[in-house]
């Protein structure tokens, strides 16, 4: 198997790992990590498309590569926004959860608004 196909399989594996983590890990920060794993798996699959498009003088197709570079930067910007929202939520409420019941139940720990 050539290295490009192997990297594509790694990408496929990463998407699966990320998806699993996105579903089962309850903390939002872990979900953000999972989201980034899925993203980098998709980038790798895109990377082998670039590698397979090696025609002419370059050992790669530069167009998908340029799109991956743009994608990495945009993924970072989205992650930074998500982190800012999480930290603010934690500051206001003393916790960060995606459990809808947690916000309606009159329970322990959470500060009154």
């Amino acid at each position: 198997m050539n290295p490009a196909a192997l990297s594509g399989l790694v990408g496929a594996g990463l998407v699966g790992l990320g998806l699993y983590s996105l579903i089962v890990n309850p903390q939002p920060l872990r979900k953000l990590l999972a989201f980034n794993l899925i993203g980098s798996g998709v980038f790798l699959v895109f990377g082998i498309v670039a590698r397979r498009g090696a025609v002419g003088p370059f050992p790669f197709d530069p167009v998908p590569q340029a799109m991956v570079i743009t994608g990495i930067v945009v993924a970072f910007a989205a992650s930074a926004l998500a982190v800012a929202l999480m930290l603010r939520l934690s500051e206001e409420a003393g916790r960060v959860t995606l459990d809808p019941d947690a916000w309606t139940k009159p329970d322990e720990g959470a500060k009154d608004p």
């Binding site: 790992l17 872990r30 980038f43 082998i48 530069p62 167009v63 990495i72 603010r88």
Partner: protein, 312 residues
């Protein structure tokens, strides 16, 4: 089996192993540290895919700057209660679904047609007109320049989004300082010794990006990393968000890019077209302002929303 293919398989196994660790680790902080290592390993995979430009971006932004962001977040959130783990009734279906998605993607990867479509010949043809030698830079700044300009706007919007999370009373103030209140001596030494070298490397990468791997993104990310190191060593605090120089720096990249694009119809007959005779100088000017914007945007995204009152 050659040595190289054994190394490739080993690398693939390590990447998947570290990724699995970030998914399964009990401790969030450990998972985040695993993610930083993962980013560095993935950049080696990119080198193996003949994508040095992507490898540099992944190492600098995907691993480095994202790492600082996530580690800071994990530290600030560490006082939170951890939530109960999901039961098997969710884990098993989730695992099955993930396996199915992975298997489908893997099949798609293996069954890709032999004659892959490629824009490489077209990219090569136009290269002489841009005066560039690196086709990836040519795609980013010339062929698909409108995309890249919009992407700079996305970065600025992300900064606006992060700032807007702040409580009203802090608007215009400075973000909370990064790192520990009393940084250790070795971090200060690192900041003093590394920053001048890092700035040189960053500028070099911007300059060679026209012909060699590198360019505005990678250069901006390295300069951004240097600013973050200086802020973490508490040698300089994050600036107030209403400082005029900061705001001008943040919008300089997209503004110059857009101005050149709007001048395109007059100069070269099409929106975002460059006249061939001065294409390279124009591209370098655009890139220089992009570097400036990226070098300011990434640290401001890491620093987060303002958390102190604006100075009177």
């Amino acid at each position: 089996m050659t040595l190289l293919s054994i190394l490739d398989i080993g690398l693939a196994a390590i990447v998947l192993g570290v990724a699995a660790w970030t998914v399964l680790a009990r401790d969030t902080f450990g998972a985040v540290v695993g993610y930083v290592a993962y980013g560095l390993l993935v950049s080696i995979v990119w080198v193996r895919l003949y994508a040095p430009d992507v490898a540099l971006t992944e190492a600098a932004i995907g691993s480095g700057v994202t790492g600082v962001l996530l580690i800071t977040a994990a530290t600030r959130l560490s006082g939170n209660r951890t939530e109960a783990d999901r039961g098997l009734s969710i884990k098993v279906p989730a695992a099955l679904l993930s396996l199915l998605v992975t298997a489908t993607l893997a099949a798609a990867v293996l069954l890709l047609p032999d004659n892959a479509p490629s824009l490489a010949p077209a990219a090569d043809q136009g290269l002489a007109a841009t005066g560039l030698g690196n086709p990836v830079t040519a795609v980013l700044i010339a062929y698909r320049s409108f995309d890249t300009m919009l992407e700079k706007i996305v970065l600025v919007l992300a900064v606006v989004g992060v700032w807007s999370v702040a409580p009203d009373r802090f608007w215009g103030g400075a973000p909370a300082p990064l790192g520990r209140p009393a940084p250790q001596g070795d971090l200060v030494l690192l900041a003093k010794a590394l920053t001048p070298i890092g700035i040189l490397v960053g500028l070099h990468m911007f300059w060679v990006g026209a012909d060699e791997p590198g360019g505005a993104f990678q250069s901006g990310a390295i300069l951004a990393a240097m600013w973050i190191v200086v802020m973490m060593a508490r040698m300089a605090g994050p600036p107030r968000i209403n400082a005029r120089w900061l705001r001008l720096t943040l919008v300089a990249g997209p503004a110059v890019f857009l101005a050149v694009g709007l001048a395109g119809p007059r100069m070269a007959g099409a929106f975002f077209a460059y006249p061939v005779s001065v294409a390279k100088p124009i591209i370098i000017v655009i890139e220089a302002f992009m570097v400036l914007t990226i070098a300011a945007t990434l640290p401001m995204l890491v620093a987060g929303p303002p958390s102190r009152k604006s100075a009177p």
